[in-house]
């Protein structure tokens, strides 16, 4: 049994596709945020996999560094998204995006 870059990239693609389905199928604003974060998690997995299997001494661990920044951006996005959900609920008395 062995694991290579291709298997991890397939895992990342699968998780990204699951996030795409959630983003298109769900109607609740918080559920949309969750689906977006699944897609970001897939990107992070891909970046860590690239850092592991394509390590180059000239730019060591660039994938892991970028993964840390992606996590930070995801955190900022969820903070703003949660505030927007609350604003949406206040103005429309509903958290469904098609109301």
């Amino acid at each position: 049994m062995q694991v290579g870059l291709s298997e991890l990239l397939l895992l990342s693609a699968g998780l990204f596709s699951i996030g795409v389905y959630g983003l298109l199928a769900r109607r609740h604003a918080v559920a949309l945020l969750m689906s977006t974060h699944l897609m970001l998690a897939a990107v992070i997995i891909a970046l860590v996999a690239f850092a592991r299997f394509t390590y180059q001494p000239a730019q060591p661990l660039a994938g892991q560094a970028l993964a840390v920044f992606v996590i930070g951006v995801a955190l900022a996005e969820v903070i703003v998204g949660a505030a927007l959900v609350r604003l949406l609920q206040r103005q429309r008395r509903s958290a469904w995006v098609d109301d």
């Binding site: 062995q2 596709s17 699951i18 795409v20 389905y21 903070i79």
Partner: protein, 188 residues
């Protein structure tokens, strides 16, 4: 290529749990359970990072993903619940178009990624991954780190501004309610 059977089995198991958690997060109608499934997905992703020799990324994923995303999203749901908004995403009908688009996305990504030829490097880096990563972030990516800090502060300030708006600004009734409030014509 990772050839250690125990490590490979751990990666496969973790990957299966990640996919299962992702499916649960997008299909569960109860959004609280979906939020818990999402948090568990992040935990498994952090475990995967540890198995791939990225302990610092795994730790940041645990803190940022589970604590930050999990608590913020579940806190949003609880806040909505206090205001009488249901915590379920009610539509149970299967949606063929999103399923089709998700399958197309997966097929395109799988074909594109499997067809590419990646240069395989040498692992592990000397000095350990945490020390090397910390050095790289502090030196090569210092400006990006500062920009990320500013982004997070701006996001927090913006969230406070949005959340703390005067309740009179949010007093507009929904469109359906406005119809019932039109003045009725008096009969002669």
């Amino acid at each position: 290529m990772i050839r250690d059977p125990a490590q490979a089995a751990g990666i496969y198991l973790t990957g299966a749990l990640i996919l299962a958690g992702g499916v649960a997060a997008v299909t569960l109608r109860n959004l609280y359970r979906a939020g818990v499934a999402l948090a568990l997905t992040f935990v498994m992703a952090a475990v995967l990072s540890l198995l791939l020799g990225a302990p610092l990324v795994g730790l940041v994923q645990l803190v940022g993903g589970v604590a930050g995303v999990g608590f913020v999203l579940l806190g949003s749901l609880l806040s909505l619940r206090r205001r009488g908004v249901a915590g379920t995403d009610g539509d149970r009908r299967p949606r063929p178009l999103p399923i089709l688009l998700a399958l197309v996305t997966f097929a395109l990504l799988a074909i594109g990624l499997s067809g590419a030829r990646w240069a395989v490097g040498s692992w592990p880096p000397t000095g350990g991954t945490v020390a090397v990563l910390a050095g790289e972030i502090g030196q090569r990516y210092a400006v990006a780190l500062d920009a990320l800090g500013i982004l997070l502060v701006a996001a927090l300030v913006g969230a406070f501004v949005f959340a703390g708006r005067d309740s009179s600004d949010a007093g507009a009734a929904p469109a359906g309610h406005r119809r019932s409030q039109r003045p009725r014509r008096r009969s002669a």
